[in-house]
Symmetry: C2
Subunit: 332 residues, 2 copies
DNA sequence: TGTTTCTACGAAAACGTTTCCGTAAAAAAA
DNA sequence: TTTTTTTACGGAAACGTTTTCGTAGAAACA
């Protein structure tokens, strides 16, 4: 089957390549009659322009890249949904890269993207607190770049974030209103600004009400985390556990199962989470739920503004998270 | 900041473009001394080749496309993980497309990919039973193509599937062994071969044991599905519900909550599902769990074989699903 | 010494587009 | 009628690579 490119169309129609190209792009320089002929043949042969040739010539790719730590995670899945909805609408393609929380991978991906592969990059950084020179390099190259959720504080870049401190504060006050006196905040990845903000919201609420600060920093390792939580619950006997991440709450549920503790009777549990089945858990889990889809959509819209060269008014967009009260923190 | 391309390297080193290109690709035609010089400068200036120029010239892109119905779904999230793990290993890039179960979108994506954008395509089809001419077109163009999970029976293509019939049979027998006599199989998207196979496994087991066939076909609409399940449970009073899809089991859980039915006392529930939190539900849900990560990885490996032009021995790879027994089908 | 074979490199074509520039013929203006 | 403008198109350069082909000079061989 012979290849179908512009050259072929031109040959079959006895036209020049330039004329065919212009006809396809509906240029005013081409007469309606030839346009019609070109369109007709293109349709017949199912002509599709070679995107790499176009990208090379036009110096734009209609493609964006998404770099995230992981995908098997309700938050990021929903974010992808939001991103895709906007990208598809604009006819853009989306490349996806998973760092698995490894900065080296992030550095490598960024390097790969630094020479015209994409028109812009959306990113939720892995392991913050690490070196950010690769991100600075990217900015220097003037590649449109938008961060979401996990953003580097050190850089002045467009970002989409959750009201982490405030929602954490509200969540903590919810626990306090339920009568909890010993609330432990469980967190991970201490280098992440987002964890810090959540912890800060907790601390602010705790201090406002004169309660004791109880903070547990876990590691990345699942098993170690499980043991830490177990020891904490057994020895410190908190009456509420506020998890900064979904997987920490899951671990807490298992620990309670093992220790024979009743939720919410013995321990109230609350977590940042995007679990769709939160209300089906035993017991239904009270969550602080981020609008993940909206964050993805907002980030993408912002990125398109940058790509189009438009000035952006708000460099930081904050999207409110909702506290959804369920049985794991019920008061009776 | 001046652009850094091969031309720039050549100019600064007083070499020709071809020599630089060859040096970068470590050709034996270039002396070690010049190679060293070229590498050094490339490193200094952080040279990255323009991928579109390479793709255009080489007629290969080191990019694959993934077309799936949705991403906010545990199964597909894990599949993506599996795909990415293999792709990253080979230095390939992954484009992601979501059809949201709409065949029109699938057709459009396929059209967009039909002219050299990618080296191959991985796909789980949307709404089977629809027209498949767009897939036939793709095959005619000789674009490497591998299907997984939801595959079109009509086409002779490489595919990765679950042992849907067999695992469904085993699951149904598990319910029967628990003493269930009125087992209803709930399914959706009746045009999907995968649904058919699951239903067939159920029917085979039911008939083998001389029990009544009870089949409920739901629609895509969430609310309608909910009502159908509710009516079915109330009027037909099954003692077990076998859901072909995760979301149907979720709906069943809600229905039972509303009707005040006890799981597993009044109704045992079992479902195909990749929910990570299945064991934390109330009650823990017995699942038939596909090895989603492995399916993604296997599909990608298969695709790479096609891309390399290797003959593939097994055109259909079946990956076994596991029945994980939990409390929702407990016998006591 | 003369001939052949390597070695190491340069010129240029090619990949498939888009667009700048140029120009006949037709139309409009003078 | 002559001049100017417009219309509709063709030629060729350009995007940044890779690779084919060609060739000086060095090395090997006779």
């Amino acid at each position: 089957m012979e290849k179908v490119d512009i050259k072929r169309l031109a040959r079959e129609l006895n036209l020049s390549i330039s004329t065919v190209s212009r006809a396809l792009r509906d240029s005013h320089e081409i007469s309606d009659s030839t346009k019609k002929k070109v369109f007709e043949l293109a349709r017949q042969l199912n002509y599709q322009p070679n995107p790499h040739a176009s990208s090379l010539r036009e110096q734009r790719t209609k493609t964006i890249a998404l770099i995230i730590p992981e995908v098997a995670n309700n938050f990021f899945s929903l974010v992808i949904d939001g991103i895709e909805s906007i990208a598809a609408e604009k006819g853009f393609h989306v490349l996806i890269y998973l760092t698995h929380e490894k900065t080296e991978k992030e550095v490598e991906f960024v390097r790969q993207l630094s020479n015209g592969r994409v028109d812009g990059i959306l990113m939720s950084v892995s392991g913050l607190g690490q070196s950010i020179t690769h991100l600075e390099d990217l900015m220097q190259k003037n590649i449109p770049l938008v961060f979401f959720d996990r953003t580097p504080d050190e850089l002045d870049v467009p970002k989409i974030i959750t009201d982490d401190r405030d929602s954490s504060f509200r969540a903590t006050e919810h626990l306090i209103q339920c009568g909890c006196k010993k609330i432990v905040h469980v967190s991970i990845l201490r280098q992440m600004s987002i964890s810090d903000k959540r912890k800060q919201g907790y601390l602010d609420a705790i201090n406002k009400h004169g309660l004791p600060e109880m903070v547990l920093d876990c590691s990345i390792d699942e098993e170690e985390t499980y043991q830490l939580i177990k020891t904490c619950i057994r020895e410190q006997k908190p009456d509420a556990l506020f998890a900064s991440l979904e997987r920490l709450a899951i671990a807490a549920y298992y620990v309670c199962g093992e220790l024979g503790l009743n939720i919410p009777g013995d321990l109230k549990v609350l977590s940042f989470s995007n679990l769709q089945t939160a209300s089906l858990l035993n017991p239904p889990l009270t969550t602080v739920t981020q609008s993940a889809f909206d964050m993805g959509a907002a980030a993408t819209k912002q990125l398109f503004r940058l790509i189009k060269g438009q000035e952006i008014d708000e460099r930081t967009i904050t999207i409110r998270a909702d506290l959804i009260r369920r049985k794991s923190t019920s008061c009776d």
